[in-house]
């Protein structure tokens, strides 16, 4: 029996990237809504909700990058040069943010500067990720497995807009997460913020979808032809249902549902992206088979992944379980 390794690997990487967006999404989101919360102890509580887990969250991005490098080296060596400056910006954002996590609590005099580093770092990293996402959706010039475009190909109105879109996505995720993890006045203010964020997110998702269909005839053909349209129609319908669900849930004072529904929106948007580009790994012309590493590399790494990823998932769930429940002011947190 022939096993189509690139397909399996595409699924694993797809899964890893989704976990990243989901997990680091809400902790980056906390940085994005940080500016709206500055009353006594609020920021500390917000940080304490993710302090024990953010490191693990970010590791999913490293996994995505490392696996892409390991099993689709051609895609890796095309995507990164093509989005050179956004990648650098993202890394710098993550540096500021990661160090701010550690130092904010220890610095008294310069705490406001580290808050700023946390906010700006989260913002820059998220925006850059959105721009990279946009570049991917829009397509990258590849010839003979090499990037042949210019250094500023990523700089387009569409990509900048997907940057904003991702900012809204993560902010909504962060807000939903805090709605779940906090209580009292802070939670009430999260509920107030959740509504406009969700509405803005819905509008943005709509604009990105239509813009993609208008700008990419190939994608439009895939979505709008019959019978695909019937198969894929649930995607936008479910997005709308989730948006309505969030608004209703917030109004009724639900604590977990808004976060879960936001995750559902992220999942739907992500599956929409995959529907649009698969089996290309770098649209419009590089598919997963052409981008693949030699079979021996894919097998070797797959053996490891098959054994280790379930273990990782187990202790990741364990870590979240250990730190379950509400975070209160004055709780044991950052040192």
């Amino acid at each position: 029996m022939h096993i189509d390794l690139p397909v399996i690997w595409a699924a694993i990487i797809g899964f890893g990237v989704f976990l990243y967006v989901m997990l680091d999404g809400f902790d980056l989101g906390i940085g994005l809504i940080f500016p709206f919360f500055d009353r006594e102890g609020e920021r500390e509580v917000m940080l304490n909700t993710v302090a024990p887990v953010w490191d693990g969250n970010e590791t999913w991005m490293v996994l995505g990058g490392a696996c892409l490098y390991a099993v689709f080296p051609v895609a890796y060596s095309v995507l990164l040069p093509a989005t050179y400056l956004p990648i650098i910006a993202m890394l710098c954002g993550l540096i500021f943010r990661g160090v701010a996590f550690e130092i904010r609590a220890k610095a008294r005099r310069t705490q406001h500067l580290w808050d700023l580093a946390f906010i700006a770092g989260s913002g820059v990293a998220t925006f850059a990720q959105g721009v990279i996402l946009g570049s991917l959706l829009q397509g990258i010039d590849v010839r003979d497995g090499k990037f042949v475009g210019g250094p500023f190909d990523w700089f387009s109105p569409f990509n900048l807009f997907t940057g904003i879109g991702l900012l809204l996505t993560y902010a909504t995720l962060g807000c939903g997460w805090l709605l779940m993890k906090t209580e009292g006045e802070l939670q009430r203010r999260m509920a107030v913020l959740m509504r406009p964020l969700t509405l803005c997110l819905a509008v943005t998702v709509g604009i990105v979808s239509v813009w993609t269909l208008l700008g990419q005839p190939g994608v439009a053909a895939r979505w709008l032809s019959m019978p695909n349209l019937l198969f894929f129609l649930p995607v936008p319908v479910l997005v709308l249902a989730c948006v309505v669900g969030i608004l209703v849930a917030v109004k009724r004072g639900a604590e977990r549902l808004p976060f879960l529904l936001t995750l559902a929106i992220v999942f739907l948007g992500y599956s929409g992206l995959l529907i649009s580009i698969f089996p290309n790994i770098i649209p419009p012309s590089l598919d997963i088979w052409a981008a693949s590493a030699p079979r021996s590399s894919q097998v070797f790494t797959l053996v490891g992944a098959a054994i280790v990823i379930p273990i990782i998932l187990t202790y990741t769930v364990l870590a979240y379980w250990v730190f379950r429940g509400k975070v209160r002011q004055g709780d044991e947190g950052y040192h």
Partner: protein, 474 residues
Amino acid sequence: MNVSDTALLLARWQFAFTVSFHIIFPAISIGLASFLAVLEGLWLKTGKVVYKELFFFWSKIFAVGFGMGVVSGVVMSYEFGTNWSGFSAFAGSVTGPLLAFEVMTAFFLEAGFLGIMLFGWTRVGPKAHFFATLMVATGTLISTFWILSSNSWMQTPQGYEVIGGRIVPVDWLKIVFNPSFPYRLVHMALAAFIVAAMLVGACAAWHLLRGRRDAGIRKSFSMALWMMLVVVPIQIAAGDAHGLNTREHQPAKIAAIEGLWETEHGGTSLNLVGWPDMENETTHYAIKVPHLGSLILTHTWDGEIQGLKSFPREDRPNSTIVFWSFRIMVGMGLLMLLLAVLGLLLRRNARLYEARWFQRFALLMGPSGLIALLAGWITTEAGRQPWVVYGVMRTRDAVSTALTVDQVGTSLMIFVMVYFLVFGTGIYYMLKLMAKGPNLPRDEAEGSSSGDTGLGRDRFDHRPLSRPTDPIDE
């Protein structure tokens, strides 16, 4: 289409800069993680509060270092794609899977259990907590395993074929356990332990010099010096074995390290100091010791060592750089040995905690582990040039074809600014924490048992074994 020399040079500078900054943090993390595991283990075994206090103290410094290691490491892995996509496309089929294994088996383990180690005291039992600490320490060592395997493969590649212009792995066992791997792994892991021991020792020396004599300070000073006494001689032996291995597999690197131009027959002398001149193919101002080169590098009186002139000009590493980086590393190692031995001598009459000159020496030696580590790293990496995969791929073919001087120059500038700003501040905070010292409860210093008054302790007042009546070390 080839990238300009300037872009290549800038890309190399960028890599050297980011990797040098990065390596500082994992080295500290690897060493401190094991130290923390030892401290917690001792606390569980003996119940002495001093170990737990030291654990809390060093775990804060560990956390800052670890955070910086993670983010600076992310930069490294993406740099392979941005600046070195020629390398990624050609050799990514080997280095990629090794990196993926590092992420899967090490990074997740560290990150997953770090949260419990730092914040889980009230959420899990002491045994489960100790398990988390052990997992973090194990994770750092597994990480060392994979990254050194990858680096060693680039130094002594085997187990592959080149098919269709790129490397295809054939035998993964041979790739992972390549000829120089065991030597490098041991050398690097020991180096990390030394880095941590020197920092712990220097931190204790600082507080001793300022008049603190409490159990935590004395304990750390003593532990650090015992550690040095055991590890430094082993490290010197490991370095020697590594040298023999390098001579076998990378003779040009050895010739460059020694500043040796001609292949001498009947015994090679050693240039103690000198100034290797790449242009004129000679080493100026050389002070030679006859036969010592043969003795060290072949363990025989008249073993032959190839000179640089027996390699084509374009295959020679820069001798001026590695000659001196190597000597800095060895010099640091010898000073460390001196420190450890003096420490042993001073223990006799309990003068260890009183001899101020010795404490000043230990304080000065604080960064020596890091200096030796960086110097050693420069020696091995610059000594590999002009190859990125030794004998297989040249560095100039590894760079991204689409790379422009503007891009790499801009990003280098940004990295330099961001690194100095962010990591500079981070290091400043680590030093500040160290200068503050561990928070021993006052009663331990004064001999009374007035309860928890130390800062930060009330947060953990429900710790089962931290009763103020507990016996204090020594």
